[in-house]
């Protein structure tokens, strides 16, 4: 049974993850064709409900939906941090009347997409909620990792940065864990929780973390303005202690470690600008794969129909479980 919503990684089984990753493959192949569109979601409508500003995720979802021939409606909602549950409920009640098939939600408050999903018949897709989850990001990350390591089980990925406030760290580490990838967290002691992450190796020293032998280094965007109180002294010091400095970059290159980043990057903070031209940087691939991964999610949740095998390219292959 395909669930109504796509809210987090924790509730997905390994089989569901594998299925979604498989479905994304033919969608990515589509991008090299002259016509990049399939009629899979013709007549379906996707409402974009972004309470937090986002360029990348927003446009990625929009492109994904349009390549599936869905109608995209962008709801003009206030990008304010003060938007609370009560106002959101009113909005959702309004949306219910529009009979959207999908609602793609981003919100500053952890748990908001779950609250919305309970109140609507539409399929809710979490496009990032607070520090809780960013499941489509995790999916595109896993897809990207599998492109370089087709069988990623036993590989090691080091996720570095502000783990405490990062929904990407939570979702991506959970998904990688489901694929048998070993995950390490690296960051300042104040930003890597001691309690909580299970089965994850905790590092607060970059060299020790490299000693661990990661196959990929996943850098998170570090922002001081996100923090209500200071967790580390300065961005300059962060770069020196936890950033990919030129010196560390030499070592990373030498060991052939892949670099990932959810974007947008802060040059001079989590990485030096040389990293961007590194042949083993997967950052641009992640962006492209984001569209394919989101198409796979939209397609998987497709409401109301039993999908027939073989139709609409390979993508229809395993989608007939609803």
């Amino acid at each position: 049974m395909v669930p109504k919503d796509f809210l987090d990684i924790a509730s997905l089984s390994r089989e569901e993850v594998e299925l979604l990753l498989e479905q994304a493959v033919p969608f990515k192949e589509l991008f090299t064709r002259s016509v990049k569109k399939v009629p899979a979601l013709k007549g379906k409508s996707v409402l974009m409900l972004f309470y937090e500003p986002s360029t990348r995720t927003h446009s990625s979802f929009e492109v994904a939906a349009k390549r599936l021939s869905a109608d995209v409606i962008d709801l003009d909602v206030p990008h304010s941090s003060t938007v609370k549950g009560e106002t959101v409920k009113d909005t959702v009640d309004t949306l219910q009347a529009m009979r959207a098939d999908y609602i793609v939600v981003r919100h500053k408050m952890s748990g908001m997409p779950m609250a919305i999903a309970r109140q609507t018949k539409a399929s809710v897709i979490n496009a990032g909620d607070g520090a809780h989850a960013h499941p489509t990001q995790a999916l595109l990350d896993a897809f990207t990792l599998k492109e370089v390591f087709p069988d990623p089980a036993g590989r090691k990925v080091l996720i570095a940065g502000d783990i405490l406030h990062s929904r990407v760290a939570r979702s991506t580490s959970t998904l990688f864990g489901k694929l048998g990838v070993e995950v390490g967290f690296l960051g300042p002691g104040s930003l890597v929780p001691r309690l909580g992450p299970e089965g994850i190796v905790r590092f607060t020293d970059f060299d020790e973390a490299l000693q661990w032998g990661p196959d990929a280094l996943y850098l998170l965007r570090v922002q001081m303005e996100r923090q209500d109180v200071q967790y580390f002294p300065s961005l300059h010091e962060y770069h020196r202690v936890y950033g990919v400095t030129q010196e560390r970059f030499e070592r990373i290159k030498g060991e052939g470690i892949y670099i990932m980043h959810p974007g947008p990057v802060n040059r001079g903070v989590e990485l030096c600008h040389e990293v961007m031209d590194y042949e083993r940087s997967l950052i641009n691939q992640q962006v492209e794969n984001g569209i394919a991964a989101r198409m796979a999610v939209l397609y998987w949740l497709k409401p109301g129909t039993l999908l027939r095998q073989g139709k609409e390219g390979k993508a229809g292959g395993k989608g007939n479980r609803r």
């Binding site: 609370k84 009560e86 409920k89 408050m109 748990g111 607070g130 809780h132 405490l164 939570r170 929780p193």
Partner: protein, 424 residues
């Protein structure tokens, strides 16, 4: 009116319940003994296998009046109390306007006299509007009988102001109740700092936020010669803090709530706001430590922190939803179901900690089921069941984790003076 409650066992602060019939005449208990005969005209209540206990008293409730009557009010709150076997309550002053002057207290007491079948006591604010800036109208409230001062919901951030208040009001025979929290450490005040806060992606509130403030307030009270009562202790180290100070003879009392004994952060699941309160639910280890503290007498009393909120408010996302759950209707049955049935403690503890001690804290006489005492008692069926449906609940709000659950034990009757307040 004369009532003979026949065949039950009488519970008291000390010892196990003892078989005894209870005769009430004109609101006074005139005999407690086995084999009492019913004279003509005496109403007989058969209570075979049941417990006859002193009625409970809750020293920590939010009745939301004035200002937030969509959540609760005096009429519904006191009916909820009766429904749970509670015949006296102490209101918290975080209403709007806050209960910070004689005028508000008088209005409330007048209203309570009109709409309530129970005596209602209120605490008063330490500072005006609970803003932590200026002292409230302390003497005016004292003249109306207020003895407990608290800014419950918040701590008084300025230790000097709190200490001055303690020095000032102690000589008026008043005492202080502390909601302990260092707000800078408490984050968005939604849940405990730990495993669950990581999983849910919400910056947690560490137990030390509560423990530091608790320790501060006890030290301030000690220095000022005041009595401080620590509210809703939620952590093992918090319990140990109280124990440490008590062992040194410092005048401190403390309460624990049923929810901190029964639930922990693991119950929150996927953002279930019926498990959101402040201080937050902590860990299973904390549950065990709090229970040990209750049994060992570290906690003087059990209080519910009955905190009604509308379904709409609790239906928001976890961070935005307000803190607190209702407790008056579920406390006794849930404590019985979880701890008496399992043999963790007996009726003596329930009576001492949820009936006698809270009354003593407020300067009131306990209400033992004994000859010569005014009747203020409940009949409780340990073999019965209670299902906490919306229909069952008399509170205006149903924000409790026990909603629609069936627990063992049932409050069958509540008698206060000449009045039978409840009979099922």
């Amino acid at each position: 009116m004369r009532i003979l409650i026949r065949g039950g066992a009488v519970a008291a602060e000390d010892g196990d319940p003892v078989r005894g019939d209870v005769l009430i005449e004109e609101g006074v208990i005139t005999a407690v003994a086995e084999g009492l005969k019913a004279a003509k005209g005496v109403r007989v209540v058969e209570a075979g296998g049941k417990i006859v206990a002193p009625a409970m008293f809750d020293a920590h409730v939010h009745f939301r009046e004035p200002g937030q009557e969509h959540k609760e009010d005096l009429a519904h709150g006191t009916e909820a109390a009766i429904n749970g076997g509670v015949t006296g309550v102490v209101m918290m002053p975080n209403t709007s306007p806050a209960i910070d002057s004689a005028a508000v207290v008088r209005t409330l007491y007048d209203k309570a006299a009109e709409v309530s079948r129970l005596p209602v006591y209120t605490s008063g604010c330490i500072t005006k509007s609970r803003a932590g800036k200026e002292l409230a109208g302390i003497d005016g409230m004292r003249k109306l009988g207020v003895t407990m001062l608290t800014d419950d919901g918040d701590s008084v951030a300025d230790p000097a102001l709190l200490m001055h208040a303690m020095e000032y009001a102690t000589d008026f025979g008043m005492f202080f109740a502390s909601h302990c929290e260092v707000p800078e450490l408490a984050g968005p005040r939604a849940l405990n700092d730990g495993k669950v806060s990581y999983q849910l992606g919400i910056v947690g509130s560490p137990a030390c936020s509560e423990e530091i403030c608790m320790d501060r307030d006890i030290r301030l009270a000690h220095a000022a010669g005041a009595h401080v009562h620590i509210q809703h202790v939620s952590s093992a180290l918090g319990m140990e803090t109280i124990r440490w100070w008590k062992e040194r003879g410092v005048r401190v009392t403390a309460e624990v709530s049923p929810h901190h004994l029964i639930f922990n952060e693991g119950d929150i699941g996927e953002y279930n706001t019926h498990y959101k309160m402040n201080p937050p639910l902590r860990t299973a280890e904390d549950n065990a430590a709090l229970l040990a503290g209750l049994k060992e007498g570290v906690f003087d009393l059990i209080a519910t922190d009955h905190a009604p909120h509308s379904e709409f408010e609790k239906g928001q996302d976890f961070v935005s939803a307000p803190n607190g759950i209702t407790g008056l209707e579920t406390a006794l049955v849930s404590l019985f179901d979880r701890f008496v049935v399992t043999g963790e403690f007996g009726w003596d503890l329930l009576v001492r900690r949820y009936s006698a001690e809270p009354r003593r804290l407020m300067g009131l006489e306990p209400v033992p089921v004994a000859e010569g005492k005014r009747a203020d008692l409940i009949v409780f069926d340990p073999a019965g069941e209670t299902t906490f449906t919306r229909q069952f609940m008399k509170s205006k709000s149903v924000n409790t984790p026990f909603l629609d659950q069936t627990l063992q034990g049932r409050v069958e009757m509540v008698v206060r003076g000449e009045e039978v307040l409840l009979e099922r």
